[in-house]
């Protein structure tokens, strides 16, 4: 029968609409602004009493508390908005003291049944929430230079051990290492040695200016890429760990391109502090414990990290810093006691070896350096001023006896628990940046601007949507209603898809939604105009509907595919804001094709299909020819 959908097709439409509805639903329950409380050490947990103290401190400051709850090992205090959240954090921190970490967080308020099927609201981008955005660039030249230096010192040591006489061996300007030999046979020996042990080098034998025998070691392009990748990945890990130290919830730390790292910290307003912590280069030190008779000027007393009452007297001289830690892993020793395996890079291994071979049976300390900002209030000329002070705090995380001379790999034992060991390994890894980084881009969005952008975006979507609905209704009457239902479903599906993909909603993304609303009716307009045309040429209503939908199909597909191609290019080449716009545009095109071709057809079929129709309500004076 003409214009009748089989039952299964109607059911499919219904199913898609219901699923779309369910997954779009969580957006009605936006995340709450909250402060999250966790124990500063893995051993500290938060209980009801601590939570109560936090809540009453916030209430005393005149900030409304929506609710407070304990989850897993965290406490969560929900407040009403971003500004209340910013104000609440220092208050809670002051009330609870140093044993707890207080962080800004977005707490989901989606009902449990929705969360159990994996539905959640879209995430808000920085421009809607407030926060800071950094783009850091890893200094690849120095990453390469560092690695080459490490290789050069290793290879020189090997040559010395094998008693092959050489000259030179330092890193040259062209990122290569040139070794000079007195005769051909020692060069051949060196060639074999390097070839056997360092297959990452390209080897080239040549005669120098004074016809000496030279061996040139250069890195293959692939190897350089690998070193660069390693540097970026390592820095990513470090930054992630440091961001955690900052106490920011839902941070984004991502690689962008070959040498860049994007860091987005929602809710953070103090860029200076964030930059100091992210950009700090060394935050670990290895030092020997001071001898009994050491002069006090050369020593320093430091507390332990997990027990501030315990202290140790250490030498001021630093053996090596966290910069030289290549890797650290938690593991177990022969007696199943937790330990941390540490691998140093070349120079680090050298320095460690030199320092420890004369210090067997002495103890070595691993010192963690924490960068913190303390805010203190000062009274200047009768005005209270808050001053940020950068604090560099050193504490000992481990003090262990040196059993034998250490080299590039060694282990730290005598740790209390697996937790402690993995925490130490993490700190050691977090402590080393593989290469220096500098800031190439920085943006701050204040919390008030974020709220303003949300309101503006919401208003423009609503108004645009209502205007289009009115336009279609006035112009196409009954069919206008069909188009409007399809448009509503389209908007819902768009939100559902973005929520399922957990896409981040940004201001340009909202602009994309608004534009989609305007353009989505295009397919319906094409179809309706075609139906009108067929009616005008004398076709009976049922056939006109059928012809209208099928003839408009080709135009709709062609037009949408080309637009989709442009949107994909936009997504591929764009950064940040452009990407957000492109992704909504892409999804919008797909959902609008579905809603115009399938959903609106379904409604029209259900209304007119399978019966005699004299007149279509499609607007215009020519409709009832």
């Amino acid at each position: 029968m003409l214009n009748k959908y089989p039952l299964w097709k109607n059911l499919v439409i219904l199913a898609v609409v219901v699923i779309g509805f369910v997954y779009a639903l969580p957006n009605l329950y936006p995340d709450d602004f909250a402060v999250q409380i966790t124990g500063a050490r893995s051993s500290t947990t938060i209980d009801e009493r601590a939570l109560e103290r936090a809540v009453s401190s916030v209430k005393d400051a005149g900030i409304d508390v929506k609710s407070a709850s304990l989850q897993d090992r965290n406490g969560l205090v929900r407040v009403t908005g971003p500004e209340a959240q910013l104000k609440a954090r220092p208050i809670v921190q002051a009330a609870l003291g140093e044993d707890y970490l207080v962080a800004l967080n977005m707490a989901p308020s989606t009902p449990d049944w929705l969360r159990s099927i994996g539905a959640g609201p879209m995430k808000l981008g920085l421009d809607l929430r407030g926060g800071v955005h950094f783009l850091l660039e890893v200094d690849m030249d120095s990453a390469l230079a560092q690695r080459l230096d490490a290789y050069s010192s290793e290879i020189k040591r090997e040559l010395r051990d094998e008693r092959i006489r050489y000259r030179g061996g330092d890193v040259g300007d062209n990122r290569d290492i040139v070794l000079t030999f007195r005769d051909e046979s020692s060069r051949t020996e060196a060639f074999e040695l390097v070839k056997r042990q360092y297959n990452e080098f390209l080897l080239d034998e040549r005669r120098g200016d004074e016809s000496e025998y030279e061996l040139v070691l250069s890195l293959a392009e692939k190897e350089i890429r690998q070193i660069e990748d390693y540097a970026v990945e390592q820095n990513l890990t470090t930054i992630r760990n440091r961001v955690n130290e900052l106490g920011v919830a839902e941070p984004i730390v991502q690689r962008q391109g070959r040498a860049r790292i994007v860091v987005e910290l929602p809710g953070v307003q103090d860029t200076a502090q964030a930059k100091r912590v992210l950009g700090a280069t060394a935050n670990l030190e290895f030092r020997l414990e001071a001898r009994q008779d050491a002069p006090s000027g050369a020593t320093e007393v430091l507390p332990f990290r997990n027990d501030p009452n315990r202290t140790a007297r250490l030498e001021r001289e630093v053996i090596v810093t966290g910069n030289n830690v290549a890797n650290a892993q938690q593991a177990f020793d022969e007696n199943s006691q937790p330990q941390v395996n540490i691998t140093m890079d070349g120079p680090g291994g050298d320095m460690m070896n030199r320092a420890t071979r004369d210090a067997i049976k002495r103890r070595m300390a691993v010192i963690f350096i924490e960068f913190r900002t303390e805010t203190e209030e000062r009274r200047v000329d009768g005005v209270v001023e808050t001053v940020d002070k950068r604090v560099e705090e050193r504490s000992i995380i481990s003090l262990a006896t040196i059993q034998s001379a250490l080299g590039a790999s060694f282990r730290i034992t005598g740790l209390d628990s697996i937790n402690e060991a993995s925490e130490l390994a993490l700190l050691l890894r977090a402590g080393s940046l593989a290469a220096p980084m500098y800031f190439v881009e920085e943006r701050t969005i204040g919390p008030s601007l974020g709220q303003k952008n949300i309101d503006a975006g919401f208003m423009s979507v609503t108004l645009g949507f209502v205007l289009v609905l009115a336009y279609m209704l006035v112009y196409y009457r009954g069919f206008g209603v069909v188009a409007n239902v399809a448009l509503t479903i389209n908007l819902m599906l768009l939100l559902a898809c973005m929520s399922i993909l957990s896409a981040t909603l940004t201001l340009p993304g909202i602009a994309g939604i608004v534009l989609t609303v305007g353009m989505a009716v295009d397919a319906n307009v094409l179809i309706f105009e075609r139906i009108k045309e067929e009616l005008r040429s004398g076709m009976p209503p049922q056939s006109a509907i059928n012809a209208g939908y099928s003839r408009a199909f080709v135009s709709i597909v062609d037009a949408n595919i080309t637009t989709l191609l442009v949107a994909v290019i936009l997504f591929a080449m764009g950064s940040g804001p452009v990407k957000g716009f492109a992704i909504t545009l892409c999804i919008g095109i797909l959902t609008s094709m579905f809603s115009a071709l399938v959903v609106s057809r379904g409604i029209v079929n259900a209304t007119y299909g399978g019966r005699k129709v004299q007149k279509l309500s499609i607007g215009g004076k020519l409709a009832n020819v």
Partner: protein, 317 residues
């Protein structure tokens, strides 16, 4: 808006006048771009900017004096949105602490103000973005040319890409004349315009193709005119709904996307015009004819002018 009359409007009758107008607009835009240049935003130039919200509308000149006294050079102070919002732009891109210092210095004068947003972009990032953006625009046009060339015919490919270039150049020209800030969001708008205008052009081209295969009488000009006539109310309606939401976006979307909305509004107007006049005129100028679009007769298929049928599965829907 009402339905068009049955008697076709003679769109192509004024195509010479339209062509002259288009050429003048494009030349004017190119001159404006050459003489005044684009007022590139921070994203492209690198530099620093600070947006401040004052409790009371401040005097911009006194802000300028304060900044000059504090030793800043090469800065621009302007209102952003309403009178109490101030945007300070500094082209000195080498110092990423700049934004914080500016706020501190201005606060020192005793004015009540709040930092709304700040940005710092290294000049290297800006340069790369400029290159990537140009490349992106060209790539978009090339992909369109290839797709339309394959889907329709080569003449159609050219006839749909040139109007896109026409639209982009005119938008750039308007931005150059009024010195509106051209930033990343405007670039996104440009690409959206390409998508939109193309959409329009394809719908018209699609009808032209269909009519060439269906109509046995009349020359190319007549067929094209008829096709435009048949699609005009769709073209105007879609542009209408899109313009309506864009105007909503312009007035309510906030300062940050004003330029985005403006670029799209110009783009939709120019794009609608260009899909009728530029694309169709080009087809006539290229001498597109029935022979270009005839489907090569297959064995057993009768008549080459049979109009293209949608896939069979669609009819079953």
């Amino acid at each position: 808006m009402s339905d068009v009359d049955k008697k076709p409007i003679d769109f192509m009758g004024i195509r010479k006048a339209a062509a002259i107008m288009s050429i003048l607009l494009v030349i004017g835009s190119v001159i404006a771009l050459g003489v005044r240049g684009l007022n590139l935003g921070l994203d492209f130039t690198g530099g620093a900017s600070v947006e401040l919200d004052y409790q009371q509308a401040p005097d911009l000149n006194s802000i300028r004096n304060t900044l000059t006294d504090a030793g800043y050079v090469n800065f621009v102070v302007q209102n952003f949105g309403d009178e109490s919002s101030v945007l300070v732009r500094l082209s000195d891109a080498f110092d990423d602490e700049l934004a914080g210092r500016v706020t501190k210095d201005l606060r020192a004068t005793g004015d009540e103000l709040e930092l709304v947003s700040s940005a710092f972009v290294g000049s290297q990032v800006g340069d790369e973005l400029k290159e990537d953006s140009g490349l992106g625009l060209l790539l978009a046009l090339a992909v369109v040319l290839i797709y339309v060339g394959m889907r329709f015919q080569f003449k159609f490919g050219i006839a749909s890409v040139l109007p896109l270039a026409h639209d982009v150049i005119i938008i750039l020209g308007v931005f150059a004349v009024f010195q509106w800030t051209f930033d990343l969001s405007v670039l996104a708008a440009l690409l959206a315009v390409i998508g939109y205008s193309l959409n329009d052009t394809i719908v018209v081209a699609d009808r032209i193709r269909e009519n060439f295969r269906k109509m046995r009488v009349g020359d190319s000009e007549h067929v094209i005119n008829e096709s435009i006539h048949q699609t005009i109310s769709r073209t105007l309606n879609t542009s209408g709904t899109t313009l309506v939401v864009l105007i909503a976006l312009y007035f309510l979307g906030g300062e940050a996307i004003n330029n985005f909305a403006i670029a799209l509004i110009i783009g939709v107007v120019v794009g609608t015009y260009s899909s009728i006049y530029v694309a169709a005129s080009l087809l006539i100028a290229f001498g597109v004819s029935r022979e270009d679009l005839i489907i090569p007769p297959k064995e057993g298929v009768e008549g080459a002018e049979k109009d293209e049928q949608p896939p069979e599965w669609l009819n079953r829907m």
